[in-house]
Amino acid sequence: MLRRVLVFVAVAVGLVALYEGYKWIWETAGLTWPFEVNDRTMPHTWDIVGQLFEPSRTNGPLLIEVLWDAALFTAKEAVVGFAIGAVGGFFIAVVLVHWSFLRRGLLPYIVASQTVPILAIAPMVVVWLGGRGLPAWFPVSVIAAYLTFFPVTINAIRGLESADPRALELMSSYAAGRWAVLWKLRVPASLPYLFAAFKISATACVVGAIIGELPASIQDGLGGAILNFNQYYASSPESLWATNLIAAALGISFFLVVVGVEKLVVRAAPERLV
């Protein structure tokens, strides 16, 4: 345990040292490739963290409060999207596993969709779903759901079909109906695959939520905050960097939640290098 904490501290210190070291070397040598380094393009790490505790605008709330609210807003969009995408994806997978004609017909497209930059259609989704009496953030959740759907479906199919044929035969000998086989055998077998997909989706839905806010011109979330502080970059570069820090933290925390749940549910062995 102590070792892990030490490694964590070492990595954090190492990263800061790399960043500040690079900044110091480039500034002292006056290098302009790949880009000019100064306090505007690369603010000091302590200034970035310090900015969090400054007011975000004159007599306004602290930056960290603003960003916390924004993060929560985006998190809400992402979670809703994740839930829709995960449930929908799993459901479709169950259907496809049981009706193989549909599976053979649709799976190539689902797999092919992994090769296209789906996020490109974000502006279209926003236009489609905007202004219909739905809350303004809903299209953003749909985008997040869309990004979650594909990895979940593909992995769920693989997982549901990964049940040991001998275990299937055993269930057959118990005259178990399809439903029982599904819940008692296939679903547990698919859990490792599902969690692998969830780990990808955790990141994807956060990215989808942030990106989705851009065409939707939503101010309340992290996407909006990024655009906002981008406009004021010249006067306060630290604010934008701080926002990115918070966005990174959001992505990582989503991921860690999935990892945590996985440890509880699947009891997978930790990653070890041979």
Binding site: V7, V11, P34, F35, R40, T41, F101, L102, R104, G105, L106, L107, P108, Y109, A112, Q114, T115, V116, P117, L119, A120, I121, A122, P123, M124, V126, V127, W128, K199, A202, T203, V206, V207, I210, I211, L214, P215, L222, G223, I226, L227, N230, Y233, P237, L240, W241, T243, N244, A247, A248, L250, G251, I252, F254, F255, L256, E271, R272, L273, V274
Partner: protein
């Protein structure tokens, strides 16, 4: 390393008719769905006027593409170059770092969880920062984003491939008094190739997303992402969908190129042996 089937398997030749016949059964439903899908698209969207303006018939989209094909093709090419640049940069860096970490195992072990966590960061959100570094119009800002997005999955998977060799395969080499260098070259690297290619395929998609979506934070007029966003903003849906279609086609082609290289270099792998 090789599982043992119960009988000798024939070399992958065999009558053309047989393999076509086998494939047809797999492909027919997908082709059917494609045909049905396209017909529905055209028919329904033309027949019902519902949301016509939002999802134009495919023929209209294709017509719009054809009319302004120069714009679309140059935008596509511009963005593809950004994606390719990011892909090459990020993947190379990922593979090199993985090679280093595989040599110094304790360092690799310690850093792996951090790399996996770093992979969960929405890198795209850093696009405004790279825009400030290189200028909003410069392709370099999107290339850097695409490169960073590609770096982590490639590095993680390559490292996994290099270090997941069965212990007996390494013991075998030790019995030949092989040096670490030999073990690397003859065992670890070939074993890692499938992992590397699988990561590279994912990286093609990520690079495209980095290039296109990075533009949503601002970019050059000539880029596909800007084209999509602007067209959607002025409700010019045929243009927007045409641009999206170009993005999809580019994505598939990019992926396909890597998959082809994989097939050529790794004919021996499980995935290339065909269904049993």
């Amino acid at each position: 390393m090789s599982t043992a089937p119960t009988a000798v398997q024939p070399l992958p030749r065999g009558s053309l008719a047989q393999s076509v016949g086998r494939r047809a059964r797999d492909w027919v439903p997908a082709v059917l769905v494609f045909v049905v899908g396209i017909t529905l698209w055209e028919g329904l969207v033309r027949g019902l006027d519902v949301e016509r303006f939002l999802l134009p018939p495919l023929s209209d989209i294709l017509q719009t593409f054809w009319d302004s094909r120069d714009t679309f093709v140059s935008a596509g090419w511009f963005t593809f170059k950004e994606a390719l640049g990011g892909f090459v940069l990020g993947s190379l860096a990922g593979i090199v770092v993985a090679l280093v970490l595989a040599r110094w195992r304790p360092l690799g072990s310690a850093l792996m969880p951090y790399a996996i966590a770093a992979n969960a960061i929405p890198i795209i959100a850093f696009a405004p920062i790279t825009n400030n570094w290189f200028g909003i119009l410069s392709p370099a800002s999107k290339i850097v984003i695409a490169a960073v997005i590609c770096f982590f999955p490639v590095m993680i998977n390559t490292l996994r491939g290099l270090t997941s060799v069965p212990p007996e395969a390494v013991e075998l080499m030790r019995s030949y008094a092989a040096r670490e260098r030999d073990i690397f070259r003859r065992v670890r690297f070939p074993h890692a190739l499938p992992f590397i290619f699988s990561a590279l395929k994912v990286a093609t998609v990520l690079a495209m997303i980095g290039a296109i979506v990075g533009d949503y934070f601002g970019g050059s007029d000539q880029a596909l992402g800007i084209l999509i966003r602007r067209s959607a903003g002025i409700f010019a849906f045929e243009e927007a969908w045409a641009a999206i279609l170009v993005a999809c086609v580019l994505g598939i082609v990019f992926y396909g190129m890597v998959a082809l290289v994989e097939r050529l270099t790794m004919g021996w792998h499980v995935s290339a042996r065909g269904k049993e």
